[in-house]
Symmetry: C2
Subunit: 328 residues, 2 copies
Amino acid sequence: MRPKLTDVAEKAGCSPTTVSRVINNYGYISQKTRDRVYAAMRELNYQPNTLARSLQGKQTKMIGVIMPSITNPFFAELVAAIEDKLEADGYKMLLCDVGQDSNKERRYLRMLEANQVDGIIAGSHNLGIEEYQRHGLPIVSFDRDLSDQVPIVTSDNYQGGCLATQALVDAGCGHVYFVGNLVKTGNPTSRRFDGYADTVAAAGLTVHTARSAFYESPAAKARELRELLTSGRKIDGVFCSDDLTAILLLKEARKLGIRVPEDLKIVGFDGTQLVQNYVPELATVVQPVPDLAGTLVKLLYERIADPEKKLAQNSYLLPVKLLRNQTV
Amino acid sequence: MRPKLTDVAEKAGCSPTTVSRVINNYGYISQKTRDRVYAAMRELNYQPNTLARSLQGKQTKMIGVIMPSITNPFFAELVAAIEDKLEADGYKMLLCDVGQDSNKERRYLRMLEANQVDGIIAGSHNLGIEEYQRHGLPIVSFDRDLSDQVPIVTSDNYQGGCLATQALVDAGCGHVYFVGNLVKTGNPTSRRFDGYADTVAAAGLTVHTARSAFYESPAAKARELRELLTSGRKIDGVFCSDDLTAILLLKEARKLGIRVPEDLKIVGFDGTQLVQNYVPELATVVQPVPDLAGTLVKLLYERIADPEKKLAQNSYLLPVKLLRNQTV
């Protein structure tokens, strides 16, 4: 049975009014009482009924957006697009930029709960689904499988991997490398590698990989890419699973006197406006940022309107497109 | 005399409790009543007493951050640094990405008031100070003079203009152009031009300018830069008032076969981590993003703790540094 507000009050040894005030952050409550109420809520796994609150006009019109980091242009453009849509609908965005810091993400989840946001858009990858579910808020996930009851929105990463690799094969490459994250996380972004692997196999070529982790420093990545290019291995095409890594590869190749695209062809992934504007020579797979933002926001509104509603569809895969520029 | 909450209630024809509920966004209030209370607040220029609220434990621990756009890497890195500091102190950030849209900025100010954020960090340039003051929230400004009672934090733009221009003069340039915003807005960023102008004058050179507006599209900017480079005018050095424009200039020069730095030397401004990492050849003036964020946040806390306190100092000018890279 679902715990009630009165159960929390009993457990915390205070009145239901006090619990309600803690939840709605109204009136003076001592930190000690506040802590006791939160502890009781956690212990009972109490989930404030969002639908009921919204019917009582208690919506806060605030959405928590949890993302890796807006210092990455892709996430900056995605967050800006989400913010713009939310604002147009009268919502405000609490931005939670959590990087790789799972403690920060945990603190944010507790704060979002305390401030009673109406829902969460979750795009970071540090915490497990249990920690998200404990807070009982409507959630939509970007680029990550959380659970059957959390809708996930993502680009068609597999299609993107295929398009990028096929462009390299079509341009005559016989030794095509994949450079990106090789750890099998089960996240949808791993599908970029799958698309690459299936495409080289279909072309009768061999899979070659070089690791480049998302959170490594650009200097460390550049060093690894230089090592790859000077290793003596035959490489005439590279699919980088993100544009920033592709830019580093392009720079290292130029420094080594390797001509792009004559000697080496490169295709990246993400296709932000920033990269399209300032590195227009880079061929890349463009993620549909406005559609991703629009879908995330629309699905979240549906979850807020009816958090218990069975999902017709759990996963939303949006099409990507290839930009054929000079590097291929 | 300062209007009181009871004055607002009388004007709006409702009880003080209702006014308090509207201000604190608590309980069910009809939209009609809400509108009437806001109208009365505006008419009386009523400013909720933040100090009193905070003594009553009514802090919301939310800060509104109003900025042009996080799709610009400089603002993305500044906002990320502000968010990180706020979170460490138990505050949450409502991000208001307003671009050039003064209506959006106005809507946000009203929403921030209704949600009773504890304070605002304002870095956008669309609205006048009256509109900000009307809302009576503690404010700290980035890069913009709002009023004597609003602390302003900015990089030492004049020093930056001098450093960049002197580097070009020292490298032997005799025809040094300034490319950037030429509209005299009275904003601190105009000081970049002043530093440029004084430095070329001191070197016995002539002031040359070419306009490049912040909000122009990169394609339009690139076209103007190409026109400048092919105009037949003598140009051997350019100080661009932002790095993104400098990157476009570098690209256009390369396309035209103009060698950088042999034939043309370029210095930019901003020096984000992104540009340092991915365009490491660009000489630039680095704004101290972590210090800017830390100073903005610290000053805002002081305003929140005592909104009426006379400021010892209105303007905070933080030092910049020159990165001498290959383009100079």
